[in-house]
């Protein structure tokens, strides 16, 4: 049995968080610096990486959406430089540019040493990456193990979750976000897990003038998240274990018919919604229930507008209805994985950097101040005090505690990203919801579309 202990506030400050450019951090940053308290850590000796002489690193990661994400990432990187002398050039890049940039780096063997890339990318570029099993095993042992989704994306497919090719840093997920008073007015104290009950809730919300709203347009995050929830909560899946398309199934037909019943309960126009639409509609009080990341709640809570703060006080975030899914909520997350490329001249420095960024004194404040924007891949971080301080964001600590992923149950590959990128499932649900196709027609069409990418 490994000895577990807790980092204290004093320890975290001694470890340097307080000394690092705090003047540049947002006001809440100083508070968050203490919030890794509560992380149970096992007494595990860190792997010793002999940092190369004169090592410098280039790191590329996706751009921030909320300020603390970048602020803490920079501060932690600076701290690494101060402690090791390794200069790190850290760049942030737009989300859409990240995948092509990763591809260019992998194919040319030049560019950043570390790229924090999207979910399936480590599998796509597995042959170009440095094995990170030592880092993955160490972090898993120290921080209570990895959640399922982290192991799925971080380890090489087919290695039984043993060979780490990337270290997942976090995942962006989208649970239920709702107005407490309106759901109560509709006769419910909480969001029901049963699908029929959930449908009834949506109907009642519509009746009292506070309808739900779920994206069915080309919204890459929200609409795919809703389509995945519809599918998995009915026991349907897009791809089977052998990598064959399994869209046209009785469970999927049930999911499609359920969506058709749900659609009239929604606010009008969700077939044209993009990723910002439900945030705007929720903040304007137009909808009472949606699925989203923490951004809705975060913006409402931190706004200078008192009216929005009032809405935040009446807002809650909970895991989405389970439906027939057993044990885990039927949702996935957009995971960011740190990949170390073989062309790096300083692999030991790079490994140590990744390890360093995942350690509690660094990762804790970053995660705490991101306030649920990223869900943690390591189980121990779910014990952080931040989740208890604001129970409304507790759902996000479970964001990566799920076996569901894009292209579930098939192998993780470039194809699984193509399903979402081409809106194959979203369009299938949208066509049935709006009466432009029967469930059978839409499922059959979507299956053929998916087969274009999942070739035999």
């Amino acid at each position: 049995m490994q000895k577990m202990d807790h980092l204290t506030r004093r320890q975290s400050l001694i470890l340097g968080a307080g000394a690092l450019g705090m003047a540049t951090l947002p006001r809440r940053g100083a508070l968050a610096a203490t919030m890794e308290a509560g992380v149970p850590v096992a007494d595990v000796k860190p792997p010793s990486f002999a940092i190369e002489k004169g090592a410098t690193l280039r790191v590329l990661r996706p751009a921030k959406f909320i300020a603390p994400d970048e602020t803490w990432f920079r501060a932690n990187t600076k701290k690494f430089t101060e402690q090791t002398g390794v200069h790190v050039e850290l760049d942030f890049i737009s989300w859409e540019q990240l995948r092509p940039q990763t591809a260019v780096t992998a194919n040319t063997g030049a560019g950043p040493d570390i790229i924090v890339g999207w979910s399936a990318d480590p599998q796509i570029y597995a042959s170009k990456l440095v094995d990170l099993t030592d880092v993955g095993d160490y972090l898993g042992a120290k921080y209570g193990g990895w959640f399922d989704l982290a192991t799925l994306y971080g380890t090489k497919w087919g290695s039984g979750g043993k060979q780490w090719i990337a270290i997942p840093l976090g995942g962006g997920t989208g649970p239920s976000v709702y107005r407490i008073s309106w759901v109560k007015e509709a006769g419910y104290d909480k969001i029901p897990n049963d699908l029929n009950e959930f449908l009834t809730l949506c109907q009642k919300l519509k009746k009292i003038g506070h309808p739900c709203g779920f994206a069915l347009g080309h919204a890459v995050g929200d609409a795919n998240g809703f389509a995945n929830w519809l599918m998995w909560s009915h026991g349907a899946y897009a791809i089977d274990e052998q990598g064959k398309v399994a869209i046209d199934s009785p469970e999927m037909i049930n999911a499609l018919n359920y969506c058709k019943e749900m659609y009239p309960t929604m606010i009008a126009g969700t077939t044209s919604w993009n990723d910002a639409s439900n945030n705007q509609a929720f903040a304007a009080g137009e909808i009472g229930l949606t699925f989203n990341g923490v951004s809705i709640y975060y913006v409402l809570k931190n706004s200078k507008d008192k009216r929005l703060n009032t809405i935040a006080a009446d807002t809650n975030n909970v895991l989405p209805p389970y439906g027939v899914s057993k044990g885990h909520p039927p949702m996935s997350a957009l995971v960011i994985n740190a990949m170390l490329f073989q062309h790096s001249k300083f692999p030991n420095a790079a490994k140590d950097y990744i390890r360093f960024m995942m350690e509690a004194p660094q990762y804790g404040p970053w995660l705490a101040d991101c306030y649920g924007y990223w869900s943690n891949p390591l189980k121990a971080y779910s014990e952080m005090t931040i989740w208890d301080k604001d129970p409304k964001i507790a759902a996000y600590k479970e964001g990566m505690n799920t076996p569901y992923y894009d292209g579930y149950k098939g192998p993780i590959s470039a194809n699984s990203s193509a399903l979402a990128a081409n809106y194959i499932l979203v369009d299938m649900f949208a066509k049935v919801a709006t009466g432009n196709a029967s469930a059978k027609e839409a499922a059959s069409f979507a299956a053929k579309q998916a087969e274009r990418y999942y070739k035999a």
Binding site: E96, R99, P100, A103, A106, N107, I124, Y125, L216, G217, H218, V220, I267, A268, G269, T270, T271, S272, W273, N274, S277, Q280, A281, A284, E286, A414, S417, A418, A421, N422, Y423, D427, A430, K431, T434, N436, F445, Q449, R452, Y453
Partner: protein, 330 residues
Amino acid sequence: MLAEAGNAMDATTAQTAVLTWRLERRPDNWVTRLFDNKKFLIGLCLAPAIGLLVVFLTYPLGLGFWLALTDSTIGQRGHFVGLANFISVFNDPVFQLSVFNTIFYTAAATVGKFALGLWLALLLNHHLPFKSFLRAIVLLPWIVPTVLSAIVWWWMYSPQFSIISYILVNVLHLRSTYINFLGSAWPARWSLVAANVWRGIPFVAIITLAGLQTIPPSLYEAALLDGASPWQRFRFITVPLLLPILSVALTLSTLFTFSDFQLVYAITDGGPFNTTQIMATLAYQVAIPGSELGQGAAIAVAMIPFLVALTAINYFGLARRKWQQGPANE
């Protein structure tokens, strides 16, 4: 002695002069000969332009063609697969729908842009108060970055926050519900056409206005003396003399519209269920987020025959001199 000395000096001066002369007349080396060569100089002067064209136009275009013939994905260098991508893409109902959408979008928007643009140009060609100011105002939609104007249109078409719906419902009380501009196929297509027309009008208006101003007023005066009606003056003077510039404007405008990306990408991204998906957005979606570079390149390459045909129709149809000045002037 002096004479000798003088002679010697003369000889030295002469020698120096000869030497200087010889230096200037040194036999041409290969560099001089090279730069004296007219063909070489022509090549040298053209080299930067040709270099730019090759690097930034021919190479990407050639690479696009090559990618379309391979099964490249974003992660993997592909293998040659012949026309397999084209066959696969042509059999894809989503691609077929995107071809229809693109043609509809181009045709409807071009008609709209030309009708309104020409009308605006005719109005601006009259002596109006604040003429220069008005002409500057007309250019605004063209000056605003497309992505910004697309976002404004997206707000105006929002099912929840549309200013158009707000005015109709809350101010004028002409409707009871907000308009679902982008939620179903045809309203979404027409909404995109309207945004594109708005953006394209200045281009047509300013170019045709420039054309209108090159028409000599004496022709109109002569026609007036002959008793021509306003319609006859427009039909028999304005239209024929405007045709060359109209054909250029039409060609460019059609090409811009056919290969438009930003407006559609920012307003609907091809939704709902691909009913506004045009070829350019589909090519991007398949190639970059969808990782299938080969297939995406095939879609992009499939746009080229349309673009060439449109250019050919415009040039060989409208721009023929015979049309304007009769067969004798061919």
